[in-house]
Symmetry: C2
Subunit: 158 residues, 2 copies
DNA sequence: CAAGAAATGATATATTATAACATATCACCC
DNA sequence: GGGTGATATGTTATAATATATCATTTCTTG
């Protein structure tokens, strides 16, 4: 068993730094501009391992004295999700930083209902089963949403 | 290949009647009241094989001259989803009539992005793969959301 | 039929998201 | 290096989805 969720007391600054470094690389590869606003939003999303709502991001930006409006946040989110740097968690209407942006959007999301954290995995068996189920019914997949709610390992044992 | 989506020109009245008959049975078994409002909402949901938003239901009820407000619709939806008679499609913020209400909520939803129809399946391989993925990471499942967007068989061939 | 429980009505408001147009900033060419 | 078109952000308004709260009605059951 390998817990996907980060350990208590891990060095979260490293998560943030590494995510930003990755994002920079992706943007460069895609010839997309990682502007101040996008970087700011991305870094706010990475402040925790939870999913964050657009309005939480807005509040955080405004708390810093910026006069930001909803469209600004939603635009940054659209940019980031289009590049796969952030994923939208449909069942939470919230956004989550992806730590494997080259994963082709086939991931699955574990959402802990106790601590609120989210973890992503790209499980081949799940993808295969989903693809097979689609094939069985003659369905051509464009996108999949697999969100699993429950208790993370920490929260079942503490 | 067995298409889950109903054939063109199928007798949809039978879908509706059968769904209502099933719903009556479930409510009786659960000792829950299938009131006029709940029946009305349920039957509106079953007017098509698409997912319907709460406000589309509200509009339909109001179009019939009823002076219905949002909470009324949401209450009916809550009742129906709690009993498993209706499922919420998270990625659409919309509601869909379940034709196998004893399925334990482990279903997968195929959503056709062209015709808008939704079909439900309960694929054991997918469930098993998801449960295994959860076990691998020490995660205790409470609920799963598996929504697959793409083209139904009709829409790929026509 | 009375009394409590369950359902619905009614009002207000919270939360999530986008449309439309104005302004600012950037990248590139000359 | 300055003009120009493209890209990004600012600004205002509003749409779409959902819930809290309290009042009233309807149902059930003794």
């Amino acid at each position: 068993m390998t817990d996907l969720f980060p350990k208590k007391g891990h060095d979260h600054d490293r998560c943030i730094d590494s995510a930003i470094a990755q994002a920079e690389k992706v943007c460069e590869a895609e010839n997309a501009r990682f502007t101040d606003m996008r970087r700011k939003v991305f870094s706010l999303i990475w402040q925790s391992h939870k999913a964050v709502t657009a309005y939480e991001l807005l509040d955080a930006l405004q708390a810093e004295g910026q006069r930001v409006q909803p469209p600004t946040v939603y635009r940054a989110l659209e940019f980031l999700t289009d590049l796969g740097l952030v994923h939208r968690i449909e069942s939470l209407n919230a956004y989550f930083g992806c730590d494997q942006p080259d994963c082709d959007h086939l991931g699955q999301y574990f959402i802990c209902t106790r601590c609120g954290r989210v973890a992503e995995t790209v499980d081949e068996d799940v993808s295969i089963a989903v693809r097979k189920a689609a094939k069985n019914v003659g369905f051509k997949i464009q996108a999949t949403t697999v969100e699993i709610k429950g208790l993370c390992h920490d929260c079942t044992t503490h």
